[in-house]
């Protein structure tokens, strides 16, 4: 029976952070490691992600980026309307699409949209955005508790885990139900810190304990690699400073105001 698991959110081609996260989770003695999707975007050399996931037998939920790359769509399905956000999103998408090999693309195409299992006696559902829509944003400040309770009831789950927004949070709902946004390891959380993070879920005294684990990795090396790949300075700035510089329009006010831009 699973009692302690590691949940990794958006990877965004950050292979250095992925390796550091897997190493950290193993050191902490988890029973299993899962990834909640969005493997590409933002970072350099997307193919470097694939062997780490395969070698470590990490089950992966399909993210909107993986769905787009796998199916050869025109964009990442993030739904930006701001011309500046769209400019950077397209640049990143076109780079990732061009640099991802055909086998990896096909593998992404057939990733499951959800993964279910039991942790202790709790029914856990892993998804990318939300159980109902792969690219739905569930931010802490715009997601009511009663809405999450309805999702748990509609999708017959005790614990729903998602990523997609880029900022981790969790909430205990009524009736021993839980929602966890596991965060992302692809880029820092727009708070001026350069570390990234993942979540460990553990059964403790018959309750679900969720812990966000910060991960330091060689972010300067990643920045160097991004520079070599001629990725935009704005992306490199985020890795080096911890502040988001692009794709900001989707942030609700309370999340946005904590950032620099």
């Amino acid at each position: 029976m699973l009692k302690k698991i590691a949940l990794i959110g958006g990877v965004y081609s950050n292979h250095l952070a992925l390796q550091a996260t897997v190493d950290d989770a193993k050191k902490r003695g988890v029973d299993a490691i899962y990834c909640l999707g969005d493997l590409g975007a933002f970072g350099p050399n997307p193919d470097k992600i694939f062997p780490i996931l395969i070698d470590n037998k990490i089950p992966v939920v399909q993210g909107n980026y993986d769905n787009s790359i796998g199916n050869g769509l025109d964009d990442c399905q993030c739904g930006y309307t701001d011309p500046r956000d769209n400019y950077f999103a397209k640049l990143s998408y076109d780079y990732t699409f061009k640099k991802t090999n055909a086998v990896f693309k096909l593998w992404m195409k057939f990733l499951p949209k959800e993964i279910r299992f039991e942790l202790g006696n709790y029914k856990v559902l892993l998804c990318h955005g939300s159980p109902r829509r792969m690219n739905e944003f569930l931010w802490e400040t715009t997601t009511p508790t009663h809405f999450l309770g309805k999702l748990c009831a509609d999708y017959k789950a005790d614990v729903i885990c998602a990523t997609h927004t880029g900022i981790h949070w969790n909430r205990k709902l009524t009736g021993e139900k839980y929602f966890v946004n596991v965060g992302v390891i692809g880029r820092p959380e727009n708070d001026g810190n350069t570390f990234v993070g993942y979540t460990i879920l553990e059964i403790e005294n018959d309750s679900v304990k969720s812990e966000y684990i910060p991960v330091n990795y060689d972010h300067e090396l990643l920045a160097k690699e991004m520079k070599e790949e001629k990725l935009p300075e704005q992306f490199i700035e985020t890795i080096l400073t911890g502040w988001w510089t692009t794709c900001l329009e989707v942030l609700p006010m309370k999340e946005r105001i904590k950032g620099k831009y």
Partner: protein
């Protein structure tokens, strides 16, 4: 082609997939200004819809919790004309995120401070969407009325001074080729008026009400047909995920409250029926999708 031949015989029906967004016509059709492009012709004397009282709103809020509503929106008219608005927002934000659509003109320093207090009382977001339709006094006031630009910009500044990042909501009244010029114009103007990190939302114009008078309205072919919905994500229509509560009952969407057939009942339960897209305004919703919600709620089927 004869224009009348292109009008469709059957209208597609959209069912409420889930009630994610609950709107409140909290100020009815009463507004302190009279914009040239208002799709429900709000004005200081349009009493078609009256203010909603706290008790009315609260009844819908209680019903909304059971239905798992995700976001609450308050519109009018001008919401800050309604004296109950602060009490309403205080209550709402304990349940979930709230967005107020305002012209910003009635935001005094005291009111901005009250809003800040309400915002800080909850984990949930309180968003202010301030409508401004031009980045110059001339461009804005030709649509929204004389002196409006200056007061709206003052309102924006007061909100910014109280830790808000208002979403400046602009109805598109310019040509595609002028997009860059207008967007940059807005960003520069807002920065120079004390808003260093402006957020902008551009809306298409809805060619009904006053806007039909200002423009030529819709062409006869501009309807949604069954054929157009093949391979189309119906969740892009606001009626697939929203309803609007008013002082006269629950309507299908905030755009169509002047159409009697859009009144679907007195409770959210009653208003959960399907709706036929028989109005030309539905065509705008089809073309642009998710036009009424904030960006943070966007999430189309992938």
């Amino acid at each position: 082609m004869n224009k009348t031949e292109s009008v469709p015989k059957g209208n597609p029906e959209i069912y409420l997939d889930s009630l994610d967004n609950l709107w409140f016509q909290v100020a009815g059709t009463l507004c302190n200004i009279k914009c040239e492009h208002c799709f429900i012709s709000c004005s200081p004397v349009n009493h078609n819809f009256e203010f909603m009282k706290f008790e009315q709103v609260n009844g819908f809020l209680e019903e909304s919790v059971k239905r798992g509503v995700k976001e609450y929106y308050f519109t009018g008219g001008e919401p800050f004309m309604n004296k109950d608005i602060f009490r309403i927002l205080e209550r709402t934000i304990q349940l979930g995120p709230a967005t107020v659509l305002t012209n910003g003109m009635l935001v005094t320093p005291e009111k901005a401070e009250m809003l800040k207090g309400i915002s800080e009382s909850s984990i949930y977001s309180l968003e202010l969407r301030v409508s401004i339709d031009g980045y110059t006094e001339e461009m804005n006031d030709s649509i929204r009325g004389e002196g409006v630009f200056k007061k709206a910009m003052e309102g924006v500044k007061k909100l910014v001074d109280n830790n808000f990042l208002p979403i400046i909501t602009v109805t598109k009244t310019w040509e595609e080729s002028q997009d860059d010029e207008v967007l940059n114009g807005f960003i520069d103007t807002l920065k120079s008026h004390g808003y260093p990190r402006p957020r902008l939302k551009i809306l298409p114009s809805i060619k009904i009400g006053q806007e039909a008078v200002r423009t030529k309205g819709y062409d006869n072919y501009e309807y949604v047909t069954n054929e157009m919905l093949e391979d189309f994500d119906e969740n892009n229509f606001i009626c697939a995920n929203s309803r609007v509560a008013t002082a006269k009952g629950v309507y299908v969407c905030p755009i169509l409250i002047d159409s009697p057939d859009a009144n679907l009942g007195n409770t959210l339960e009653e208003a959960s029926t399907g709706y036929k897209l028989k109005h030309q305004a539905c065509y705008t919703c089809y073309l642009f999708g998710a036009i009424c919600s904030n960006y943070s709620s966007v999430g189309r089927d992938a």
